[in-house]
Symmetry: C2
DNA sequence: ATTCTGCATACTGTATACAGTATGCGCAGC
DNA sequence: GCTGCGCATACTGTATACAGTATGCAGAAT
């Protein structure tokens, strides 16, 4: 693992966790797939020990599931997890915004710039990354770091669903209008209105994914064991 | 936490994680204490590998912190974490109750019984355990299991603070009245009123701990490195 | 042809060995 | 006496070895 840029971080398992997390959210590890520890560890250039520690952390985060004597599996995309994960953001995000308070002019300008970039995004990956960045920027002043951490985790879990939908159906995320509404309220110093608009924004992404999920019936070729 | 039923416990690291988690919340491992992996693993009768996997999970849960090349430390009780953790429950719990809806008569009866037991509790440990059980029972019908899991984790993190306060000052938790108010609203089918009362209940425990925390200045004898 | 049984194989779970880094103490130098 | 350097020690981070369990296949029995 010495080929990784700078060894500022002495910790291999941390880097491995990051790498595997990325492989999961962008689909290089398919949903339901069983993790072969030997293959994956050699592919990453580390031994099984740090890989397993990383897998354990990812399981705690919800990206993986584990089955005794079978090992780890990439968590399948299910209606149940989707309902849970998407049900949380309309709760968490508005509260975080309320705690963050009205944004500074600089932050407001960055939010508007990000939103313009989002309108110009062409690939699903780009659009989702910019949308996520916009929301994290919106909440950056929230003093409750634990709440922010939870939101970050929830964002990662939603990303898999959004990516899967956008790749299978050419549905392009169009949240710039909703973002504008939030920014307008913030510009008018209407924090409460912004929270309400944010809540609506967090609920609106739900329907298309829900429809797609419930119509694709059983999981494609995923190992359904966990 | 997420393994509610666990049919077959073949897994050592899981049991180790549970054991160490208990040692942390009830104070057998002091706040800020550095974890000696060799000592702890032999004390638990396992090797370092499963212990380390457990420690990694506990770090992900927030019970431990890790420092490169120094290992794991029991997370110290800090004002910052306290504000974060206690700030979350007034957000999460009422939303979970709203999703759970009005309780069945059986659940209502169990809640009243638990509350009577709580009124008779004599030790801090007993009172806290009953209070936690009451809240989990209140929210048991919440369909969002992920939200429940988060609340469970937050409860564990608050428990350390409540225990520490009650052991150092003879302050006895007295939440039965607030619980009664919630139950009264639920009995009158006033879900919204119950949610508001629950929010107040979640905020009221804050002040005494806050006062105690800010007056005890620097950490007692804890290693402040992490 | 089908089903059951036993074996070979592959992979996980755990223990242990080894290397690299932080830490504390003693000793030299001032 | 005080400070700085260097070595000894202890502990973490990682690799590897070993044991136990699940899985798939082949061959026998029906």
């Amino acid at each position: 693992m010495q080929n990784v840029v700078a060894l500022k971080r002495t910790n291999a398992s941390e880097q491995v966790a990051e790498a595997v997390r990325a492989m999961i959210v962008d689909g290089r590890l398919a949903e339901g797939e069983r993790i072969n520890e030997v293959r994956l560890s050699t592919a990453l250039g580390v031994s099984r020990t740090p890989l397993r520690e990383a897998l354990g952390r990812l399981a705690a985060e919800g990206a993986l599931t584990s089955a005794p004597n079978l090992g780890y599996f990439v968590r399948p995309l299910t209606l149940e997890e989707f309902e849970d994960v998407y049900g949380l953001r309309p709760i968490l995000d508005p509260e975080a915004l309320r705690l963050a308070g009205l944004p500074s002019p600089e932050r407001l300008a960055r939010l508007e710039a990000l939103n313009r970039d989002l309108a110009k995004a062409r690939t699903p990956e780009e659009a989702i990354a910019l949308d996520d960045a916009w929301h994290l920027e919106l909440l950056a002043d929230c003093p409750n770091r634990l709440l922010l951490e939870m939101i970050g985790n929830v964002i990662l879990r939603t990303r898999r669903y959004e990516l899967a939908l956008m790749r299978e159906t050419v549905n392009v995320l169009n949240a710039t209008g909703e973002h504008d509404a939030i920014l307008a309220a913030l510009g008018a110093s209407d924090l409460d209105g912004a929270c309400r608009a944010l809540k609506r924004n967090m609920q609106s992404g739900r329907e298309p994914i829900l429809a797609w999920l419930s119509e694709r019936a059983p999981n494609p070729k995923a190992d359904p064991r966990p």
